[in-house]
Symmetry: D3
Subunit: 336 residues, 6 copies
């Protein structure tokens, strides 16, 4: 198994602890992106994984690539160009009833300005078995959308499994095309999608009762009907209590069958960013490892719950750690 992901990587800058930006004297750095986080979590779990992106050709771009490599991601196919900056985002970590806030500063990045022709997807994907992308990537620029389409086409040609986190972010689509037009042909090339009822409504006009098992199943059936390549749909449902207390469960529709997990409590939440990415990386790992869809889903959901306790965008947990919780050790007792 070898997984390839494609998408932008940003530097994340956060005040320490729960400090607010205007009072911070320093910012902690990490790097992440919805797709890269999947590659990094898989690499940390021992799965060969490569990430493809475009970085600026200066210290910040090299620092971002170094960060991915550190956790085992193959960065050989990353481009280094002088066509733009490194995207940034500033994150204030909230607490209790104060929400976390993000100030994006990602316009005009090297990734947004990438040249789709610079990626030789047949070469990049030649040893790979799985391609993963997120709905954020085609939202960034026409060039990024084109490269996504190229990657999916090559993956289908080479027989890879393709997955997507459709992840609709209204504010991001600003280059003159509508998500509703761009996304469907891309999703049509996918075997597995992460999709919430809200995204299905916004992107594909598929209506379901949001936040119910029933709604999820009905949405999945309609998705699969519309995009016959899709065999599995996954999502988490959240019952957010506060910025410091999250509850999540996992849902899976697989060729007509529905699976779900119990809700898991996370209190306190250490770092909520990347929670969804760790769900999909957990599912990719779980589906390849366990015989049963229920176990794959359980692995994915607990992996995502654990991510909420790990600093940074990347889910630094091992399969053994997830399995320890799957065996019922949910009370966090000290491991010596």
């Amino acid at each position: 198994m070898k997984v390839v992901t494609f998408g932008e990587v940003m530097m994340r800058l956060s005040p320490p602890l729960n400090y607010r930006l205007p009072q911070a004297a320093s910012l902690e750095i990490t790097y992440g992106g919805g797709d890269a986080n999947v590659a990094a979590a898989l690499a940390w779990m021992g799965v060969p994984a490569a990430h493809v992106t475009a970085f600026p050709q200066h210290e910040l771009g090299h620092a971002a690539a170094a960060h991915l490599r550190r956790f085992g991601v193959d960065t050989r196919h990353c481009l280094f160009t002088d066509r733009g900056r490194l995207g940034l985002y500033f994150l204030e970590v909230g607490a209790s009833l104060r929400p976390s806030r993000i100030v994006y500063d990602r316009a005009d990045s090297a990734f947004a300005n990438l040249d789709p022709a610079a990626f030789d997807w047949d070469e990049i994907l030649k040893d790979a078995t799985w391609l993963h992308w997120t709905g954020i990537t085609p939202a960034i620029s026409a060039a990024a959308a084109q490269a996504t389409a190229d990657a999916i086409a090559a993956a289908r040609r080479l027989g890879l499994t393709v997955s997507a986190d459709v992840n609709y972010r209204r504010n991001l689509w600003q280059y003159g095309q509508r998500a509703q037009d761009v996304m469907p042909p891309l999703v049509a090339g996918c075997d597995l999608v992460v999709c919430t009822e809200g995204d299905a409504d916004d992107l594909f006009g598929i209506r379901a009762e949001p936040g119910t098992e029933n709604g999820f199943v009905r949405m999945s059936e309609q998705l699969a009907a519309r995009f016959p390549q899709i065999k599995r749909v996954i999502a988490t449902h959240r019952r957010t209590q506060s910025a410091s207390h999250e509850r999540i469960c996992g849902l899976l529709w697989q060729e007509g069958q529905f699976y779900e997990t119990p809700f898991y409590d996370i209190a306190p939440v250490v770092d909520r960013i990347g929670g969804g990415d760790s769900f999909i990386s957990g599912f990719i790992f779980g589906a390849a490892t366990y015989g049963s869809p229920q176990e794959a889903l359980g692995f994915a959901t607990i992996a995502s719950a654990l991510k909420h306790t790990v600093h940074g965008d990347i889910n630094l947990v091992t399969p053994a750690e997830v399995e320890h919780l799957m065996q019922g050790n949910l009370t966090g007792r000290l491991v010596r």
Copy 2:
């Protein structure tokens, strides 16, 4: 609208995280004081606000003034003298069932030793519409009490609204006069007071059932009867669960009417200091902004709840952030 506040500003020194003082290798610095916190929160919300105090004429005094200016407070009327030190307090932040602890080191401060004649209140207040003070100020020294009386007198003369947080701290009154003698004539000059049932009992001999809505209303009526200038009384009730978990609601008595809010949970509490000051600054803002007393009280209470999630004595939240919660967004979901 322009608000002027008067009172001591101290340097606060706290070990990082929940470290105890004897194990700390460094102390984090911030600055605050019950009245200055009100000016700073208002300034950060966009309301012109000035603070009046006396600082020592050295680096620490200038650092404290700089801190207030940073958040928008006008410090032009602050005195810099060589008549005393900068008051300090050392704060250990507790957790769970371990209380936070304060070691005061504020004796002989430049503020305690101020010369009341050095403040030209008619000049200081000439553009202002509101004067706010706390019961801590007249507790510090006879000179400070005299200056408070002078300020109130000038404010009444110039037609300002006057508010006070009566805030009775038994230990502070050590210069030979009784709070029970000093406070009543000062409170008599106020239009609005923050007063709990306990304070009313201790300072004015007004008895009510502490911690009940009924008690608050009865106390307010007696206060208004005793001090006819008072038109509004406000307070919070707390149901403290632990050093890390607070529950608060807001109460308002306004010319015979009673208003209250639901209880808001804060878990975890990031920084409890200044919670009361942010309630009064929230109320001053809310009363000037919203038509209804209920909305003003709601704004004040949520502003105070949010303060518990912000490091430092000063409530660094914007009106838009408070209103986001007033609209029912109480679960702290990430804002992008």
Copy 3:
């Protein structure tokens, strides 16, 4: 009263906050050991206390000794040798459903390699009234077990009270002898033991229903029957909710009588390490200070609960702080 403890002291290295080891850029240092933690907590509470151990003769050994001295422990009887290293352990602090994890790196320490003949116990214990040791000490090496036996024998000879936390850690016993053979003669010399139902089963084959009051009493009676010197048995029961939320109560069997406390909630847990050590140090202090066994047990249990809110292995709380909670102040209200 003067207490002497004996056992290994390790350097503890932890990433800041909840960071994981592979992402940490620095490690916070503290020092501790099950027995030394008891001496240090007692010294901080004002009880003369000395710790006896062997350190390597270089900067790290001196740093560890300095750490103990800082909190008042007499380190005069510590040996400094060139027969081994300073034991280390790396601690990742978990959160919520992610457990804290320890990576031990303690093999071949100066303590493991100690020469039992180097300790002149009659001299060391000459002014002491109490000797405390833990089951970790005889687990480390034959030499350490021999020194423990020597210390107990001297203590009995000199009329000291002897206590032990039997603390069975299966993984530690690796020098070729079985805990089941080594521990009984050592425990036979004790007046007071900390022992859970699980430890009694593993070490002495005493069966009881774990985690019930009934089980604890039955176990205690059998222990006292087997080891007639034992007059008191104590333990805590834990209802761990998560790595961040602990609930504990205290239990005491004293010459046929049973005492217990309510459960105390600790949320959040700041630092769980040393929770048991602070229970026994609290009991030693409480038993010497209060007339009633119930008060001694209450003191011990609240001291242990407070330890969970203090960084480091050592319980830096004063008797006055514990008593403040014993008087019912359990909601962590700010102390000025």
Copy 4:
């Protein structure tokens, strides 16, 4: 005296100590800009000073304004717009023979996109006596150049003294106009300029032997001949030994007379950024304070030397501190 400055303010992000960007886990934040640094240094020395700029209307813009206010700068005339980002620069602090390096990330800032018509210069300058700007400002965009011209015109109309640091940075001029065309009419409105021989050559085609007193005088005479409004020209000469060791002297040409100072050694250099800005703020202060040009120049040069020992872009030194060195106390002996 009241000084107004105009120009961009950027957030500066630096790894701690001498760390390189790709190895940094956090970045220290400060804020600065060539013109704002002058206002802030003057404000800290007690001179009323306002800075005019355009900030983005979000947390980062407010944080930058707060930073200036902290040191006493009046920020009332700063615009907050949604027309762009906050300019950033990343600074790696070198050491010895490794140079410090800056990665700029300032394109498309709120300042670059400012609307010149949004500044009412007659209102802004109405109480001011001095306007200062730098050659960086007209380099940023046509709009910024226009606003600079407007400000100079208003200043001349209102009788202010106008100064400029011509500061030619080739890389910055990227909006389609040449510095050689834009700068001369702006410099023509100045009474005082900071100009090195290299800048005079590049911008005005004035040739002189760079780095010699002679060359400086000849350049100054030609500048004054070309721009008759100019009465004073100042500059520093540097004999840089390494990134950690600087030597500077100050030069002044004033209506035909030449003044210079000895070279001052700075070893180690704590923070080189803003060294030139502190020279001009020192000269503005010195010229207003001392009778003799020599003293004004001495004050400016020592102020600049001291800046090299202060972290951040802003020269946080007081007049008394500079004068202490002017009196010959150049060996840095402890001041109690």
Copy 5:
């Protein structure tokens, strides 16, 4: 050998690195005092040493005592009272031509308010062989001066060697008595004094050419003539290059003989505070260890030079480290 010292201990609060106080977000803590530093350096070198002082009876006092204990100082004879505060001083660390600056905040300390009768000097000194004090102690208050006199009298009675660092600080003498009256009878009880030519002039009216070997010898002879108990006089001469570069040599006059060392360069200076205290502690150690006065002086001077490279007031160097340099290893080559 056992050394006892007497004097105030203060908390020292410094911004990290070379930050200035008004820009600092945190302060690093250490503790020190001229006499306590001597005890701590000796204890760290293995010499039994006790310090006697008065601390406030709260967390800060206990923290200060803990700091001394950490490095081996016996704190049993320290008083804990509620008669005053813990003295503080704020230290800004300079660099190059910017001096370090101290803001004292030590008035009304527990030490200043001590009760001389509370010290039972015969008991305190019963096992000791050496008493050391500094001229700072009698400067603080009449009570402190009285306690100093009592200590010296007891030491003479019990046959101890008495040493003093006369250390005249004009600003400190503010309780109504003149140093010129108080110091001579105290110095008369000393066997060894640290005294510079400047101090001898100020305190005793002894004139010599400051900063010359000749002057030092003439001063020493006059001191010994005036105070016949004095057998040795020591001092360092400094050729301060900058706040970051110091040069020192040591001088000794011993019963008519003069000894001196070469100058030692310290660049950079890490922490200058306590440089003098480490000279006298080094001399006490050296005189007790080496046969020759020249070696004792060499040890003292190198110990003091090394102190300039150690953070904090206390000289954390071992005899072996000093001797390594005495053997000519002065180039700081890595020791593995």
Copy 6:
């Protein structure tokens, strides 16, 4: 070109700044080893490089591997075993005349306990062109020496260039064999060696005047005579001024010709560790890049000088940065 290195990687733990170990509250972590540092510096300069070692199979081993990957090192051939610990070393960074000190804690590491048969050198080296090792590796254990011999044999078989830094550390050789017996056959397989006159004397009995160009040439000739495979010998000469000030030059003997560079001053030294490793990695890069031996040596020497200004064991400089200095830019002027 592809370089493979072989040797132990240790975790390095250092107090921040110049703090001493017994006063440190935290330790900064990095990872390094003489051979791994070469691979990492080359990878950072863009040369494909792999490091081969054995790590313990737990968080610390994975963290160390992650560190190497971050800077581009291929870690695929690293073994993860449960046969030992991660070697550690504690580094105190000295200053001025205080030397840096290392406390090693590396016994019984996974590397020392490696199984030589576990490395398939023909596979590992199949795409490589260069093998580099250091004299530290065979000093660690017989197994490590055997693996080194195996690697060299395979490299010769496959036609790689082989280099060694002979680096004799007397204290390390403790497993029962003499360096004088083990090293010669290993060195016999090398094309290029780093060797000082002192090492040549100690290991091979080759006498030369240490520290002179003459001595270096004579030693090189004798080395080449004894080991005919050797074509190049390189070394640096150091004129260490203090722990903070180093001077180095480079020397090269290449097939009978001698080359040398001027001395380069480094003041201050940021981090001395890895200075030699960066010389050899610089030479490997330089020799492959530049036509002339003089340029290769110049590159190597300046790369090493720059390393002294970079934190950590690894030389994070780019070829462009080195070449900037080779062009004469040695005064560290700011690069924008």
